[in-house]
């Protein structure tokens, strides 16, 4: 498995660095030597579509569930591609594609229970899907008609957070609140517990907020899963430059479990996230999960990855495609037939059409939007400014505002 090799190589390289230092690992030494022994991802379904047993993470899954995960991933990928296309056609000002990360998102999203809460970054369209956010509700943000198009409370899916790392602290606070509320530790009543999942990228791990989130979560035993999608790149910055060692190892420095999962294996992600959530619900949080995956597309539609990475890399990762392996497994084991696959494709097309159609209906917001919800009650000052602005709405701008969508969003 190419992913594994890369990681192992990276670690070996890092490990060599310590050997140069000539410091044999001793009991009092932490650092590379102690951790570089082996990097292994939990995997339950090989890239070739074979089930793999794992001593710690057994997963009993019905054919129906399996088909459901497949369908989720296909649909999510489909509307993601549509998002990209809509941007190319000038209907969106930006799209942040998730291509390649479907398993990481659907596996973790489906591991959550209704009362759990997810705090996303900005690329978690697949998690949104699992939380019951209608994909069309994702559009307004990328079209520029709203900042957040869904109801965070109704879905348990918080607004996208663009300032890298911020949501990690907010999610930690939310989880601290879950603990304060006594919403965990009820092992007798398996349905009663609650936990939080926070999503962030490999690049985000460098931010102070992510660190502080882990410090606070450890200090207050918060029921939170730190779900890091290591898609190998932070825009043009490869993960090896953010960290010498695998990211899940950070957890050990804070004294809670960290685990790496094959992020292109939806079953492994599901099993590991379920376990992690149950740990949290039982009062043993936090837990960190590093989902080892790959950003198959550009960072966003404003990005040009050919400037900083080789197509080879992408080709290699294609062999690890998260959807393909489930399709192969489903067919090979006879758990799904042609008809099923066709139906899923039809559903996907339908969703894409609905997604597209909805996008075109999204109207520009009125002037009033500028002044809405700044405070609970509008202030006198804002009302004055609004009244003042109203005079201009009717007018055409004498000279166009020079709004361009060229270049460099995020």
């Amino acid at each position: 498995m190419q992913a594994k090799t890369t990681a192992v190589e990276a670690v070996q390289q890092a490990s060599r660095r310590v050997e140069v230092a000539g410091v044999p690992g001793t009991a009092v030494m932490s650092g590379l030597r102690a951790v570089a022994a082996d990097v292994e991802s939990v995997q339950l379904l090989s890239p070739e579509g074979e089930r793999v047993e794992h001593p710690r993470f057994a997963l009993d899954i019905s054919a129906e569930e399996l088909r459901g995960l497949y369908r989720d991933m296909v649909l999510v990928r489909r509307f993601d591609r549509e998002g990209n296309a809509l941007q190319r056609q000038g209907q969106l000002s930006l799209w942040a594609p998730l291509l390649g990360q479907e398993a990481a998102q659907v596996g973790s999203g489906r591991a959550m229970r209704p009362r759990d809460v997810a705090f996303p970054s900005y690329r978690e369209h697949g998690v949104a899907w699992c939380r019951g956010v209608d994909p069309t509700e994702l559009l307004s943000l990328f079209r520029g008609t709203e900042h957040c198009g869904w109801d965070p409370r109704a879905t348990g899916f918080w607004p996208y957070t663009i300032v890298i790392g911020n949501q990690v602290l907010n999610a930690t606070g939310y989880a601290m609140g879950q603990r304060l509320d006594g919403a965990l530790g009820h092992d007798h009543d398996a349905d009663s517990g609650e936990a939080t999942v926070v999503y962030f990228g490999d690049g985000a791990t460098s931010q102070g907020d992510v660190h502080e989130g882990m410090v606070f979560a450890a200090s207050f035993d918060a029921p939170i899963v730190f779900f890091c999608q290591n898609n190998q790149w932070a825009i043009s910055h490869p993960v090896e430059r953010q960290s010498r060692v695998p990211l899940y190892r950070r957890a050990s420095g804070y004294g809670f479990p960290g685990i790496r999962v094959d992020g292109n294996d939806v079953l492994a992600v599901l099993a590991v996230t379920r376990w992690a959530l149950q740990e949290c619900r039982s009062g043993n949080g936090p837990v960190m999960i590093e989902a080892f995956t790959y950003r198959m597309d550009a960072h966003t539609t404003s990005d040009d990855p050919s400037r900083y990475r080789l197509a080879d890399e992408q080709e290699a990762w294609k062999l690890l495609d998260p959807i393909e392996r489930v399709r192969v497994h489903l067919s090979r084991t006879g758990q799904a037939d042609r008809e099923f696959f066709d139906q899923v494709d039809r559903d996907a097309d339908e969703l894409a059409a609905r997604f597209r159609a909805h996008c075109l209906t999204l109207a520009d917001p009125p002037l009033e939007r500028i002044y809405s919800h700044v405070f609970v009650e509008p202030t006198e000052q804002l009302e004055r400014q609004l009244a003042d602005d109203r005079r201009f709405v009717a007018l055409d701008e004498a000279v166009p505002m020079n709004v361009s969508t060229q270049g460099g969003h995020r």
Binding site: E146, V168, L169, N170, D209, E212, S372, V376
Partner: protein, 341 residues
């Protein structure tokens, strides 16, 4: 027009309390009224805060409601946002003005924008308490007046009480307010005493104390100020009275949004305005008050607005702060300038 109850005022029927104690009482009252109110910050628990504003609260309300946090301001503010999402009403303490900056990103990007971003579907009713200002002989980063910066950030309320009574009332209202409030406490007044009437107001969600207040009536010149400088300006007004100059003193109390109604009304009578603050002048609250009053009452002004503030420098070593901080003489000088022109 209300004038404050000062110590020795014959109508005061309540025991005098320090400013710090009044704040402590407000926290206690709020926590008793609403068990979703939490206090969190560095050393707020057993120690009771470095200024003892949270003294005794952990003992009485427990470690779950008075939370000693790890040493990280972004962590404090950022987790408070999450706690507020969860339905709590966190009151965070930042130990000193100079230590609010590691938490500033969370304030600008989350606290101030959550409601706007979600069209009011999410709210973060939280209070960020910041002891501020100089005059306590402290080392670097312990004497700053950064409030103007917060006023430029849309989506947060910024207030500052000047008296123990206002400390009590405004903190209760800040906690009850559904908007996030940055609450600047004039630290060099923490140990000053005045009678405080407790628990007199209901905790409605529309703060009535977030409004400007005439602290002293006068017809010759208006002096607008807030926070730690209110006392200084009142002393200056007293001194001016000896020279037969009647100074009207207005305490802004709410720094953002500003409540300029009483100021405009006053200036329309006096025709002269001085704005006083400890903060550096550049792009500050004093600039804003001067600009707005001039814009809205230009033809009432007999002279240009005069501003008195800290200089546009970092805060100096404390032994020179008596020269740095605007004192009575500087206020009087500005009054003279505005009267002479």
């Amino acid at each position: 027009m209300t004038s404050i109850v000062t110590a020795g005022d014959p109508q005061s029927d309540v025991a005098p309390s320090t400013f710090a104690k009044a704040l402590n009482d407000a926290l206690r009252t709020a926590m008793e009224r609403d068990d979703r109110v939490l206090v969190l910050g560095e050393d707020v628990g057993r120690l009771g805060g470095v200024f003892r504003v949270t003294d005794g609260l952990q003992k009485d309300f427990g470690e779950h409601r008075v939370i000693d946090t790890p040493l990280a301001e972004s962590g404090i503010i950022g987790t408070a946002v999450g706690l507020a999402y969860r339905g709590y009403r966190p009151v965070t303490e930042i130990q000193f003005d100079g230590f609010v900056w590691p938490g500033f990103d969370q304030i600008v990007s989350q606290v101030a924008k959550v409601s706007y971003r979600s069209q009011g579907k999410l709210r973060v009713p939280m209070v960020i308490r910041v002891p501020y200002g100089g005059g306590i002989g402290a080392v670097e980063h312990h004497s700053e007046s950064p409030e103007s910066i917060f006023c430029h950030v849309a989506g947060i309320r910024v207030v500052s009480p000047a008296t123990p009574q206002d400390g009590y009332d405004m903190l209760l209202e800040a906690i009850a307010c559904d908007d996030p409030v940055v609450f600047f406490e004039p630290k060099r007044r923490y140990w000053e005493k005045a009678p405080v009437q407790r628990d007199t107001r209901s905790s409605g969600s529309v703060p009535t104390t977030f409004s400007s207040l005439v602290r002293r009536a006068g017809s010759d010149v208006t002096v607008v100020t807030y926070g730690p400088s209110v006392k200084t300006v009142l002393a200056a007004a007293e001194a001016a009275a000896a020279d037969d100059v009647a100074v009207e003193v207005i305490d802004l109390r709410t720094l953002s949004p500003l409540d300029l109604g009483p100021v405009l009304e006053s200036v329309r009578h006096t025709g002269r305005l001085v704005v006083v603050s400890e903060a550096p002048l550049e792009a500050s609250i004093t600039s804003e008050v001067a600009a707005r009053v001039t814009e809205e009452a230009f033809y009432s002004l007999a002279a240009p607005v005069q501003r008195v503030g800290g200089s546009d420098t970092p805060y100096p070593p404390s032994r020179v702060e008596p020269l740095y901080l605007p004192g009575v003489d500087r206020v009087l000088d500005a009054i003279d300038r505005v009267l002479d022109s």
